[in-house]
Symmetry: C2
Subunit: 188 residues, 2 copies
Amino acid sequence: MRADARRNRERLLDAAVELILEMGGEPARDAIANRAGVGIGTLYRHFPDQQSLLHAVALHVLDRSVAAGESALADSATGVEALRRYMHLAIDHGVGVLNLIYPLLDHANWPEQRARAESLLHAIVDRAHREGQLRRDATAKDIGFTIIRACRPLAVGLPPADERALAHRHVDICLDGLALEACRPPPG
Amino acid sequence: MRADARRNRERLLDAAVELILEMGGEPARDAIANRAGVGIGTLYRHFPDQQSLLHAVALHVLDRSVAAGESALADSATGVEALRRYMHLAIDHGVGVLNLIYPLLDHANWPEQRARAESLLHAIVDRAHREGQLRRDATAKDIGFTIIRACRPLAVGLPPADERALAHRHVDICLDGLALEACRPPPG
DNA sequence: AGTTAAACGGAGTACAATCCTCCGCTTATT
DNA sequence: AATAAGCGGAGGATTGTACTCCGTTTAACT
């Protein structure tokens, strides 16, 4: 595979992730190609139909997030630290698209990746619980939903850098709400 | 104004709010009429063009949220309680649409309502701060963004009742993160 | 109950956005 | 320098959306 082809493929996937998060559904193909800075023909060469594009997008974000999360779990001193790092990385990679495209997929067939992602999240949450750092009622679902919410842009038009900063701040706030740090000093 | 006309107008506005939150932009007119359970002609009679519809939607959510918030502020024993009640009510009314339609409006001309909404939010946040119940770095913007995030449905297809429950849980988690309750017992 | 004017529904046409193919040009690789 | 893989984007086909119009229904009032 030629180098420019690989580069364009990545750009297309990243653009698709951004647009799906903004629009909340199937964005127009031309819009994806435009945002990626490539011609429409290039999009169709890489992804001949809707399903292959959505499938590739799903695997794209899933693989990158899981990889990031696994190393976060391995390298962190505490459970909540691993959780915090995982959430921030997952947002940067845009895992939030998974929820949005799931109902559009004909057959979501990546049992292996799915299992890996679920067991990763549970491993992190369980560890934090075992170390007594999380509220009892905090579940893996809470984490997942928080990530999904943080992924979506607040309003189209805000500079991407600002959006990212707000997303990260939001995750930190939620984690503070889910964590269990008695008598922590006021952060401000 | 005939009773059925008033009822249909309300239904149309509610449907528009739901759809805007789901789609994140301008939903198709037919979709709004369908969801409201009225004919497309009825929509055009009430709102002859895009702008009048968007304008009405904005005022609809703004007025209801501000009214709810003002009574919450008056009736609550503490600042955070007022804040909590306001946030939950605002979500139920769908204030989150404001951010989404703002860039679509030709001229957003409701200075009075806008001022009332801003001063309300600041009044609530200030009171909570004065009573020492909020993190120092918690701002009115944090509250606003949290409400906006909670308003958006996580995934199209989930039953509305579940969506609402998740939204409310999310707000509670965020508030726990923003509040300052030293040594609070684990809620679970 | 009868009257009436306001309100309703939805088929249908005009318009706009989107999809996707095709082929001449460009560029990475050897 | 050769060449095959990759690129861009104009353009025709298709789908979706906007908006009108008019026969039917219904709330309001006597």
